[in-house]
Symmetry: C2
Subunit: 254 residues, 2 copies
Amino acid sequence: MAKNIQSLERAAAMLRLLAGGERRLGLSDIASSLGLAKATAHGILRTLQHEGFVEQDPGSGRYQLGAELLRLGTTYLDVHELRARALVWTDDLARSSGEAVYLGVLHQHGVLIVHHVFRPDDSRQVLEVGAMQPLHSTALGKVLAATDPVAHAELVDAKREPFTARTVTELDEIERTLDLTRAQGYAVDNEETLEGVAAVAAPIYDRRRLAVGAVGITGAVERVCRDGELRPELIAAVRDTARSVSRDLGAKPF
Amino acid sequence: MAKNIQSLERAAAMLRLLAGGERRLGLSDIASSLGLAKATAHGILRTLQHEGFVEQDPGSGRYQLGAELLRLGTTYLDVHELRARALVWTDDLARSSGEAVYLGVLHQHGVLIVHHVFRPDDSRQVLEVGAMQPLHSTALGKVLAATDPVAHAELVDAKREPFTARTVTELDEIERTLDLTRAQGYAVDNEETLEGVAAVAAPIYDRRRLAVGAVGITGAVERVCRDGELRPELIAAVRDTARSVSRDLGAKPF
DNA sequence: GTGCTCCGTTCGACAATGCTAAACGCTATC
DNA sequence: GATAGCGTTTAGCATTGTCGAACGGAGCAC
């Protein structure tokens, strides 16, 4: 396979570094973190700044992510076919289930949330579009890993963090869970990612029957579970929504 | 001044092209649009795809914006200091005014919305974070142009489109409006951008008294105007919010 | 079914660019 | 006042990015 362009790879690494923990980084920190000469790092930053991908704080001279990323990220959402097709169905699912709805796709080592409908009540909620979720513990992640070989490989290679006492991290047990997900057509997260929170998700297919994403709901276990299991009517609603979106994407019903 | 890195400039141009009208573009279209050889464009796209900034549709071979842009764009928002400081105040403003609240910063030739609080009612609303607004007709834009010389230069250089019959496009008249904005500390958009919609915005300053953004409210003229003018209590509320955010950013009150 | 056009992709030669050591001016610290 | 380390700039050079040519494949017209 042909090589990639080195300066583009370095620029991408720089943007990811700036997206890490620290809000702003100095040029020397960036250079040393990436093993580059200061002049090299400076040339890349100067170009990224000119294009709006990076901004420099005039006072301290440090660099941070730039506004052009927000603009392009928003455009990514605007033209995202799966999301566009799912918009109506996910509003309906939030209304009928009374819970928060999420739409996720595989991105790098996890699930990227591309749509989020707030739980239809008056509580204060935070929009999670753009957030990443793990593959091994979340309902969305298990669905993607069960239906998409690339996602499966990412899950296998990843470090599986035990977020709660109920998080499954053993690969054998996870594989059995994925087999069950394939058989029953949905996955469940019963306090594996957050204590007190449960979720259910189902896969969305395109016209070639390839999995392209997953839709799910999330809520407090007191509301979404009964006798320690996800409420069947919620599972049915999520699967109905997934089928509807799949049909809109051209997938033939079996 | 030193030159920027050509391949990074080309990559940025490619991403902006993909963010334009068409959802997906073919390699040959991209190459000819940017005046590049196909092999050159292909090398850049291959690298952008590897880094997640671009995705290729397996069926048609065409290219579109990638998910990494959403992730980085969201991180830009998460670490944006102005937005972080403004979050609480803008929620209060939406409640007290009963209207939608926007927070904008200068980006390229316009106003980039970095925060948007929905009007506190049950109507269906679309999140506009990431959207661009023009400088010449919007309240946010006029505030930025009145307080930030860079924004002012962008407004002067830009093509001033008449969105409604009330849009002011003559530079002399706009300069008088900006003088008024500086004098009174706020700007108004009375059906200049959208018919039936009015807005008011005020500037936000940092600790060096530099304008770093603007906050405003937008609503139907029937609600936000009285006798053809913006309601004074709404103007006062917006200006109070702008002062509060400015103080949080370290600006001393005069 | 055949021929044609144009697609995205690959390869290798080469010239232009990106890389970087060194030096600079500036600021903060001691 | 001296020092350290910051971001920035310059010039030389080696490596990389560019691109012409060719390829296999898909779609379309006849």
